[in-house]
Symmetry: D2
Subunit: 283 residues, 4 copies
C-alpha cells in the first residue's frame, strides 16, 4: 500500500483533485481520513492506496503528483507501507519499554526494523544482543564538553544507520537543542507522567507527593523545549493512597510501555501529522 | 450543514465522483469519513458539506445527485443538520436515562426536539410536564390482546408525532416484532449490560451472581430479535465483591445514561450506518 | 449504622483495642478499612458498626470511647449514618454539576439534604426553586470591598443553615483565604482539569492549546492555596484534534459531574481522611 | 511479612479476637482487609503482619492459632510472603502472555519462581530456555486415550515440581475434569473475552461477528465447568468497525497480558478468596 499524507491551506477542490488523480490512474483508495481545521484554516489528509493497478511506482507517483501539490501549496509525502521503517532505540538502564518494543518487533505485530540500540550504559546489552541487534554503549559524562562529545558520537551512529525514527525508550538524558532540531518530528520520547503535569525529573515522586488519583504517561515528539513537544498519545491508570512511589513506578511502567507502543504504531503508520506544536492523529 | 451518507459496493472512483460533484458546484466538504470494508466489499461514507455557496437547496441536491447514486447503486440520504431531529422517548418508571436526556435537551448540548414522551406508567408525568413536553400514559396490560391494543395505540401516537427516532429509555416492555420492523434502525434501546453478556431480564442480578468485575451498558438499534440488534455504543464500569445488586444498579445507571447519550448523539449526527446487523460508527 | 473514623500515630494494639471495645459492648463491625502509612508512621481507620445491640447511643459511645482515644492520641469522630448530611451548594451560571446533584438528591441514590443554594447570579433560581430548595442570590462585585462584603454575607447564610459540607459546583469565584480556613476539609470544589495540569482559569482552553489527548476533572478540598487542596477524586476522558474548545467543554462537563458526585459520595460516607494535604480514600 | 487469610460464618468478636491474638504476641498488623458478606452471612479477612517482634515462626503461629480458628469454624491459612510462590506455566504456541510473565519474573516486579514451563508444542522452547527455565514438550493428541495419557504425564510433571499455582497462559487445551478438581483454586486461566460473553472457542471472531464496541479478557480459576470458574480480574479495550479479527486479536493480546498479570499478582499476594464460585479480591 502507498500512504499519501498532505497538509495545506484549506481550499475548494482538494479532495476531488487528489482522489481524481488517484482513481483516474486506477489507484484504489482503501483508507481515507481528512481534517478541516477551522481554527487554523488548514486541511490535513491521509490516504491509503492500493497501487496494484497503478501504472507507476512510488517515485513516479511522486513526480506526477507535483503539479497538484504545487497548485495547493501542499506539504506532503508518499510512503510505501511495504518497506518497514527503521527505528533506532535509545535507552539508559530501565528496560520495560525496550523489552516491550523488542517483543512487538520480534512477534511481528508492529512492522519496523531496529538497526541498532544506543545506550549511555551497558546494562541492556545482553537483552539486545540476544535479539541479534547491534548495541552501542555511548557513555554521557556530566561535563558539558563530555556531553557534547557523546552526542556528537551518537549522531554519527545515527547518521550511519540512517533511521527513519529515533525512540527514546526511557533514555534518561536531555538531548541538546541542536540535536532536537536536526531530527524534527522524528524523535519520539515517552515521559512518565500525564503532561503537562509533572514535567521534568522524578514525576512519580511528584505524583505521590501531590496525591493524585491517576498516574499517566505521554508519548511526544522531542523538541528543544523540554517535555513540551507535540503530544502523540497519553493514557492513565488509577492509583491510591496505598501506592508507594515504588508502586506508582511499577503501575506506571505498564502504562508507559502501552502508550509508547501505541504512539509509535500511529507514527509508523503515518497517522500523525504535526501543525503548530500539536498533532493530528488519524486513528 | 448538509450531511451526505452513502453505502454501496466498493468501486473505483466513488470518492472522486462524489467530491467532484460537490466541489464542482461550490460546496465545501468540512468533514469526511470513509470506510472500505474488505470483508463485505462495501464502501461507506459520510460527508459534511457547507452549502453556503451551493446554488441549490437540499431538495435540489437530492435530485441532481440521483445519476451518481444510480451509477454506483448507492443506498444514500442527505440530511440538513440545521433541522433538529424529533426524538420520541418511551419510558417506564425508572427516570435516570430520561432525566439525563431532558437535561441535555434543555441545555442545548445535543440538538434535538422531543415531541412527546410515552410511558406505560404515570410516574414520570410530572418530570416531563415541567419541561412542557406532552406525556402520554399508555398502560400495557399482561394479556396478549391488551398488549396488542396498547402497542397499536402507541403507534398511533408515534404516527401522529412522526418522530425521526424513538428512544427506549429503560422502557421495560418488549416491542412486538411488527412494530420493530415498522421503524428499522429508528428505535434505539439502552440495555443494562455489556451485550451479549446477560441478555434478557435482570442483567444486574445476573452480573452479581456471576461475579463479574465490570458492569456495562449497551445502546443498540431494536430489531425483532431481542437484545440482538446492531450495537451503537457500549461502555463498562468497575464493580467488586463489595457491590450488592443495589450498588451495581446504581453504578450501572450512570453508565447507561452516558452510553445512551453517546449512542443517540452519534445517531443524530448521522454517524451510524448499519450493514449486516453491525454498525459503522464514524466518530 | 455508626461510622468511626480514627487517625493516630501507629502503635501496637490499636485494632485490638478498638475492635475489642466495640464487640465487647455487642456492636457488630460490618465494614472495616485500615491504612498503615509507613511513610508518615500514621495509622488511619474507618469502621462501620451496626449499633443495634449496643447498649448506648452515639453520644454515650463518644464519651465512653474517650479513654481509648486518649491512650493513642487519636484524632477521631463518630458519625451516625442514619442522619443525612447537610450539603450547601454554591454555583454561578453553569448548571451541569448542580443538575446532576439535584437529580441524585431527588432520586435518593445519595443520602444528603440540601438546605439551600447560594449563587452570585440569579440564572439557576428556577431550577433550584422547582425542587423546593431555598436559593440565595449573593452578587460578588469586582471591587475588593464589594467582594469582602459578599463573602461576609455568604458566611452569614452558611452559619444560618449550618451545613456539614459546602460544595462549589462550578462556583466561579475564588473564596478568600479566611473563608477557606473557616471550614477546613468541609468545602469541596470541582476543578475542570486533571490537576495539577491547567490550574487557574480556562483549563479547557489550555488543554486544547497544549494538544493533550485526555481531559479531566478533579474534586478536591478547598484550601487557601488555589487549586492545591487535597485531591479526593479524579477522572479523565479521551479527546482528539477534532475537538474544539466547545467540544472539550461538553465532554468535560460529563466528567466533572461524575467526579464531583463520586468525590462527594465518598466524603459523605466518611471515606475520606486528610493528612498532610493528601487524602486517604477508603473506597 | 506473614499473611493470614480467614473465611468463616460472621459472628461477633472475630476481629477483636484475631487482632488481639496477633498484637498480644507483639505482631504488628500492617495491612488489614475485611468483608462482611450480608448475602451469605460469611466473614472474610486478610491480615498482613510484620512478624519481626513475634516470639514464634510461621509454624508455631499456625499451631497456636488453632483454638481461635476452631472457636469460629474458620477456613484459614497463613503464608510467609518472604517465600516466593512457585508458578508453573502451561502454554501452546501463542507467546504474548508467556513473554509478559517471563519479563515480570525477570525484572522482579512480581515475586514468584517458575519451576518449569509445559507445552503441547515445542515452539516456545527457545524463549523459555533463554531464561534458564526447564521446558517440557508434552504433545496432546486428538484421541481420547492419547489426551488422557498426555494429561497423566502433565500431572506427573506437576507433582514433580509441586507448584503452588498453575497458570494456563493461552494453553489451548481443555483440562479433563479430574485434573481441574485435583488443583482447586490453584489453576488460573486467561480467557480472551469478557466472560460470560463469548465463551468457548474463537471469542475474537465471535466479537467481530457481533459487532461489539469493546473487547476484553478474563482471568479466572479453572473448574470442571468450562469458562465458568470464579472470575479474578477482567478488563476491556475499545474496538471499532475498522478492526478486523486480526486487529482485535492484536488489541486483545495487550489486555490479556495485563489482566493475567494483575490477576496472578492478586492471587500471589493472597488477595483472592473464593466462596460460592465467586471471588473476593482485597485489592
Amino acid at each position: 500500500m502507498f500512504r499519501l499524507i498532505i497538509s495545506c491551506a484549506d481550499r475548494l477542490g482538494i479532495i476531488a483533485d487528489v482522489s481524481g488523480f488517484i482513481t483516474g490512474h486506477g489507484g484504489n483508495i482503501v483508507e481515507a481520513s481528512q481534517y478541516h481545521d477551522s481554527s487554523t484554516g488548514m486541511f490535513h489528509m491521509r490516504y491509503v492506496l492500493d497501487p496494484k493497478n497503478l501504472p507507476m511506482d512510488a517515485n513516479e507517483f511522486r513526480e506526477r503528483f507535483i503539479p497538484i501539490a504545487q497548485r495547493y501549496g501542499m506539504q506532503w509525502h508518499l510512503t510505501d507501507a511495504s518497506t518497514p521503517r527503521k527505528v533506532l532505540i535509545m535507552v539508559s538502564k530501565l528496560d520495560h519499554c525496550l523489552a516491550d518494543l523488542l517483543y512487538r518487533w520480534k512477534c511481528g505485530d508492529m512492522a519496523f526494523d531496529i538497526p541498532c540500540v544506543i545506550s549511555n550504559h551497558d546494562d541492556l546489552n545482553e537483552m539486545v544482543s540476544w535479539h541479534n541487534i547491534p548495541y552501542f554503549h555511548v557513555p554521557v559524562p556530566k561535563s558539558a564538553a563530555g556531553k557534547e562529545e557523546a552526542f556528537q558520537k551518537t549522531c554519527e551512529l545515527i547518521d550511519k544507520y540512517s533511521p527513519d525514527t529515533i525512540v527514546l525508550a526511557r533514555y534518561m538524558q536531555i538531548l541538546p537543542p541542536w540535536m532536537c532540531e536536526q531530527y524534527p518530528n522524528q524523535v519520539i520520547n515517552i515521559h512518565h507522567s500525564f503532561l503537562p503535569s509533572f514535567m521534568g525529573a522524578k514525576p512519580y515522586h511528584q505524583a505521590q507527593q501531590r496525591g493524585v488519583k491517576l498516574t499517566g504517561a505521554t508519548c511526544h515528539y522531542v523538541t528543544s523545549d523540554l517535555d513540551a513537544g507535540p503530544i502523540i498519545e497519553q493514557d492513565v491508570t488509577r492509583i491510591s493512597h496505598y501506592d508507594s512511589v515504588q508502586d506508582i513506578v511499577r503501575k506506571g511502567k505498564d502504562v508507559e510501555a502501552q502508550v509508547l507502543a501505541q504512539g509509535l504504531r500511529n507514527h509508523l503508520e503515518d497517522r500523525v501529522l504535526v501543525h503548530n506544536n500539536k498533532t493530528i492523529v488519524f486513528s
